[in-house]
Each structure stands twice: as structure tokens, then as C-alpha cells.
Amino acid sequence: MIYAENLRKEFTKIVKEPGLKGSFKALFHPHKEIVVAADNISFHVPKGEVLGFIGPNGAGKSTVIKMLTGILTPTRGQCWINGKIPQNDRKNYVREIGVVFGQRTQLWWDLPLLETYSVLKEIYEVSDKKYRERMSFLNEVLELDDFIHSPVRTLSLGQRMRADIAASMLHSPKVLFLDEPTIGLDVVVKDNIRRAIMKINQEEHTTVILTTHDISDIELLCDRIVMIDKGKNVYDGSLRKLKQNYGQMRELSFETDTSEHLTPEKFYKGLNLSGEDLTVKNDKNIFNVRFNSEAIPVGDMLNYTLSITKVKDISVKDADIEEIIRRLYKEGADEIE
């Protein structure tokens, strides 16, 4: 369905010294620098899959999405979507995709929302019958009815985002690109949008590429994730595998008696572990120990803790996905440097 092969995008940046003087200098003697926003990005998404495309800010996610949607021309490499190269066959290609950039809107700002849909209906040549079906489906999953007659400029961010997703879905695209569709939204709206994406994916087998910084988006929606950092592929695989590979982190929390004089050093020295394998933090007598269960099994950790101190309360839990991703971002960065 979607093939990206060695995509690379370079931007030319003019480096300016600070201040007005620097700007003038750059005007006459521009010092150009090539910035590689995406380098050697390859992945494949089969039909009907929801792919989480993640990475820290500035990793190059949007650049890749813009190449896949035909907005940017890759410096090198190619992508095929539905057997089409976006840059070569743009007009026919974009009929089959829907695009939402969470930070921007494609709605007609000054007009009631419904007008946008009636214009898009003509642009995408949706028949009257199909349009009615589509609107009732989108109304149902995205609950547009409350604000469909309001001018777009008066919509709240949550309403606008739902309206934008509906706009991108009106022509029943085969592929949906969602660039940060949950950015800046409250929990209820996020939940609504996630359910809508899930439903669209299940009922219509729409292939979805989704970028997000919200871990719950990934956990709830994505079959697979591709992670990039500094323009390069860092990870490509299922979330489950990611958890297996990187998810050996556990978190031990306990409370000691106030009479105890336990310090974090006792853990570091006693277990001879440090860095990624072990971090200990405490707030007076409440302790928080993060450790790698491959370096020290959970049982040993518990035994050791109980042997050095008297605990009032104790619990062990899995590190959450957020923790894993933080680790992976860090590793990715180390690998490249």
C-alpha cells in the first residue's frame, strides 16, 4: 500500500548572525548550509494498518508526511502509495488520500462549516447520494451536528479538529495521513477522535499514518510504530516487540519507617548497578527505584530491598510505554552521535 524508499529531504538554510547587522550581512554574503531533514527513510505499510509515526520534535516526521502526501519533492528516494508516485501524478493521487495537519486547518475560515463540506464535495466530485451517506456517517462518529452551522472561526480547537478530520474523510480516501490530530485537545475530545479513527479504520479498512506525541494514541490505535530521530529511522516494529525489547524496566516504590536512614547510595553500591539499569530517587522516606529486570531480576531486587531496610508499603509495576520511548529516543540519539 505505502512504500517509502530511502527518502531524503535537504533544505538550504541561510545562516545569519544575530541582529539587524547580521541580517544585512546575510543579504549580501549569504552563508548557506544544507540541513538534512530526513535521511534514508524507508518503511512499508500494508493496507488497513494503523501506523504510528513517532519521534521527538524536529525529528523530521512532518517532512516525511509532506513527501508522502506530495507536498514536498524528495531530494532523493521515492515513495509509492496505491501504486502511484505522489509527485508524478499528484492530481489523481490526492483523490485517494485524506490529510489532516493538526496545526493547520483546511476549512474555509469565514464560512459556516457545512459550506466547507459542500465545496469539498464538488472538488472531490462526490455524488449527492454518497455525500449524504458520508455526512451521516461522519456526523455519527465525530458528532458534528452541534456546530455544523457555525462559522469555522468560532469553533473551539476540539470542534475544529473533528471538523478537519471529517473534511479529510469526505471523499472516502484509501489512506489517511493524520499529523498530530490530538494536539492540544482535552481528554474527552481526544477519546472521541481516537474512537472515530478506530471506527473509520475498522469499517472502511482505511490505511492510517498517524504522527503523535501522545502515548495513549499509540497504545490505543497503532498496530505498528516507526520511529525516526534526527531524520533517520530508529525503530520499525510492533508495539509489543518494542515493549519486549525495551520494556524490561520495572519500577519499585516503597515507604520506610522514618527511623531508618536509607540513602540511594546503598542501592548503587550494594547492587553495583547504575545509569540506565538503575535509578533511585527518594523524597524523605518514600523511595522510587527504576531498574532493568534483565540486569537484576525482580525477586532479587525485592529480597535486597527487604534485607537492607524495614518497609511499610511496597509495590512493583511495569514501566509504561512513555518510559520506553524516552529511552529509545535517547538511544537513537546516542547511536547517531
Partner: protein, 263 residues
Amino acid sequence: MRRALKIYRILTIQNLKRLMEYKADFLTGAVSFLIDQAIGIAFIFIIFSQIPQLAGFSFEQIVFIYGFSQIPKGLDHLLTDNLWCVGYFIVRKGDFDKYLTRPINPLFHVIAETFQVDAIGELVVGVGLICYSAPNAGLCITPLSMTLFVLSVPFCTLIYTAIKISTSALAFRIKSSGYIIQMVYGMNEFAKYPTTIYSNVIRLFVTYVIPFALTGYYPVLYLITGEDPLFNIGGVVIISVLFFALSLMVWNQGLKAYESAGS
């Protein structure tokens, strides 16, 4: 083509609806254009109160040239005003993304999105001045000359559009080209008067380089003298088509260089 017209019609209706949303702004725009026009006309009256002829043209003939020059300018203004926004901010802010994700030609889309009713001021003034001056302008009116003259209007308009397309497309490379459009477009002032009042350099410049003289003076010259239709009208057709083709090339090359904006 039919589909394009349909989309154009729909987008234009949306535009008119938008105007109704912001009535005060619309009225202010219309009034300011009328004032601008009034100053231009007053200027001609002042000149002719001092001198009876200008480069061999009578007062009525100058008014006719002035009036005619407003028509292609007004038509282009009416239809393609959104190109200014491309130069000033649509590209710089990355808002051009939207046009590239729709299954219609982005240039057509961006142009169709604005229907600038302000331009009616120019058209009304243009037609008014033509009607006022025509009876006494000593025009050489035959069926052929009228046909060729009227035929030249869309091509004159095309020159305006071509100049705006190519200058706004520079924004794809240099991010913002609003002031460049303004500078080049500003040369249309030369179209309002006979080119013979300018020096040779300027005359050649506004005929062949930024050919605004073709949008006013030359077609009217043909109507006054009945001479040289090959250049006065034919030249307009050929140069306008050439410029338009060139501007489309600049635009399409620009699209490939479009860099969007971070998000």
C-alpha cells in the same frame, strides 16, 4: 473544463457570502478604490488645463487610453487577486500545503478562491471614461477595428495575470515576494498614458520587458489610427500568450522548490 467552471462558480459564491459577513470592510475597500481613481482622473484634467495636447494626443484620446487601461487591470484584479496573498504570506506560512492536497490544479484553486469585488470600481471608471471620451476621440471605427479591439481585452488581462503569476511564484524560492509583485505591478501606471511621452529606454521596457504598455496604449493607438494591427493587436496577443506560458513555467518550477513550513 466544465468541472473547472463549476468549481469556480461554487468558490465564487462562497466568496460573495464571505463579503456579506464583513460588510464594513468591503465598503471601505470599495470607497478607497474610488478615491484612488478620482485622483488619477483629476490629474489628467489638471494637465490638460495647462496644455492642449500631450505627445500629439488630444484630451479625449488621453482619457480614452486611461479609461481603456483600467479594464484589463480591473478584470485581472477581479479574478486573480489571491496571487498577492501567495506572494505575501500563503507560501511563507506554509498554507500552500492545502492547495497541493486537493485534486485540482493548485494555481487554478488559489486563483478561484478569491473574487475581488473591489475591482468593480476600476471597471466602472474604465467604462465610464471610455463612454465619456469616445465621441470626441476621433476613433477610426470599423467592424474590423472594433472586433480586433474588443478581442485584445482578454489578452491584455492575461499580461497582468502572467506578471502576477511569475512574481508571486518567486515566493516558492525566496519565501516572500509580495514587495516584488508590488514593484513590478506598480509599473502598470505606465499603461495609462501614451508611451511616446517617455524616454526610449522606458518605452522599450514597458513594451517588451514588463509589457504593460500593451495593455493600454497600443490597442487604443490602433483604434485611433487604424494602422498597424499586426503589432498593435497581434503583438498584444503573441506577447501575452508568450508571457503567460513563461509565467506557468516559473510557477511549476516554483512548486517543486516549495518547502512548506515547520509544524
